[in-house]
Amino acid sequence: MSKQINVALIGNPNTGKTSVFNQLTGLNQKVGNYPGITVEKKEGICKLPRGVRAHIIDLPGTYSLNTTSLDESVAVELLLNKNDKDHPDVALVISDVENLKRNLLLFTQIKDLKIPAILVINMADRMARKGISIDIPLLEEKLNARIALVSTRKGLGIEQLKELIADYKSLSKTPNVDTTVIDPEYFDKLKKTFPKEDIYKLWLVITQDVNFMPIEKKLIKDASSFSTKTKSELKRLQQKETILRYQFINGILKETYKVDRNAAKGFRATLDKILTHKVFGYLIFFIILLTIFQAIYGWSEYPMDMIDGFFASATEWVKDTLPPGVFTNLIAEGVLAGIGGIVIFIPQIAFLFLFISLLEETGYMSRVVFLMDRIMRPFGLSGKSVVPLISGTACAIPAVMATRTIENWKERLITILVTPFTTCSARLPVYLIIIALVIPEGNFLGLSFKALTLMLLYILGFVAAIVSAMALNKILKIKSRSFFVIELPNYKLPLLKNVGYTVLEKTKSFVFGAGKIILAISIILWFLGSNGFSDDFNNAESIIEKRVSQEGYSTYSETYIKNNLEQYRASLVDSGMYPNVIQDSIQTMESTLEGRALNQEIASYKLEHSYMGYMGKAIEPVVEPLGYDWKIGIAVLTSFAAREVFVGTLATIYSVGNDEEETIKNRMAAEVNPVTKEPLFNLASGISLLLFYAFAMQCMSTLAIVKRETNSWKWPTFQLVFMSLFAYIIALIAYQILK
């Protein structure tokens, strides 16, 4: 059996750590979370020479072992805890060839922990262009370590790196810097108190500084008992340590690292000037955003249609192939509808992450974050909140996950809480159908009222997010240090492999994370809508058949039969058939349509008397002041699972055999309020519904993600209650004014 070793990838952000990880592991990788916390954990397997297998862990990016964020503390905890099953046998410290000095700070710290370490100098392909030359043998001698010069972009040096990892036993464990010289007296005391412990490890445990998240810090708490210095004294010592390390690094690099400034080109500075310009910067960002959204909606349309078609065919196939019965119905109407409801969003999510990943890979996203910080700060948000707010227009789930990059806990929490206000793609079908029903035809400045309403709803979402952020900033009494440090990485052409992996990972995370919850809820909703305890439910067939034989079909069914029959007749006439054949075909079609109409009426009646129907009736008094009837009440109630369920529920309630919006629209337009005798969907109830959907927290999956990201039920509960109450009040005011 081959030997397996743990290899940790550690390095500063933007050094190409993930690229090295991808090169080493290929597709043998998985993404999860560190136990108990929401920091992403990427691990994979790499086969090394001489039959050695490496379990590779991609640790979160960190500038040093003096942590300031949750992500960084995870990396440090793993390096400190020898008993952790992932504790590395060897650490690969990835550094960027252009920022070697800064990267070596981390390297010397890891070396001082006596963990066998290899310095991986990445982006070697840029050396010639940037006029950089490195004396590798001399640098290896000075650092007492092995170095791999690699270019993940060109795939160079990876085999040499694998050789070095396989040969990990020969790596030196000698420390680089003697930290005790910064305060000999203090370190002497420590040594005497804990003679068996490694002194630098103790020092790191004492000085950990993660101030914004209740993480598992037992290690640190235990060690803090022997801290005899105040926080500020420890900080000063940390600074002394950093200076000491840089003195050591400067001395080495003076002899080994040369940059020919004349050879370096100033393209980056020029581009930065334009992209972070006070006017052009915003303009360019706005144009890029417009392009992205246009592309997301435009390009997603075709795959979404294909997925829709596929699930429609699959449903038909299941109904035709499996023996008729309740379980077949569950698979066709519950399971397949549930899976379809998840899978249909894959194209939009994949495209969104494709663009975000491209912007990140090129280095542009850091410029956007820098640019937006000055705008967002007065609202209690950070420049880094822009990415989640933008992602939220596709789906709040990945958007909430994207807040992980925000170091400040208060800013991160506020971003998580307000992101669901942005108009996500699941709201779109609801908006489209209601707008089509209640907004009149007409134009304003060349834009139709309907298009303007849709645009206003998007703006309303952003305004609600920003205003709520401002209010939360004042209300939330969370103490956290607010600082904004961002590195502007070099511009580079995106590596398609990295982009591909990101898109794949994020999409998988959506489908298998939120998807399971949506599927489970769909199954329960199907059950509640397909079962009932009353005689009305159990005898629906005979009741409706009797009613149809006595009173005929309902007005809607009659119109449905008539319209379809006329269309069919016209198509037969156009095809040039003989009149007698046409007559026969029409008669066959008529009986088919009558059968369908009867089934639809039975389904509608059953739904009304199902568990779900009773639930709808029960909530009718609550939704009536908003201008809704029990049917809309059910749709609103079910869409608390996911907003897009609204259209599907209405399609079932209104007895439509398929869920084409135009058909549902006609049926909804024909609905009459039994009290006022006016159309149920009028301007007042329509606007009320639009506003309700704009503000209400109707997404179980988002709540689940918020719970996961905040490690508590407190915040998702607050979000659900606050947003739903706010939505209710706004919708109530709108209806009462407009009715």
Binding site: P35, N83, D198, V205, V326, L330, I517, A520, F527
Partner: protein
Amino acid sequence: MEIVQHILVYITLLISVGYLAYKFVLPKRLFSVGKKSSKACGQDDCGCH
């Protein structure tokens, strides 16, 4: 055959309800009995004691 279909529906429903309960209601520690946390420090040479 119909009874089998009904049984399958109830099994699926139970799995769905159970899954949601497992995900959102039941405390996670109920499912971690006997599992040793990867962060547990069993020895005294890890630097945390």
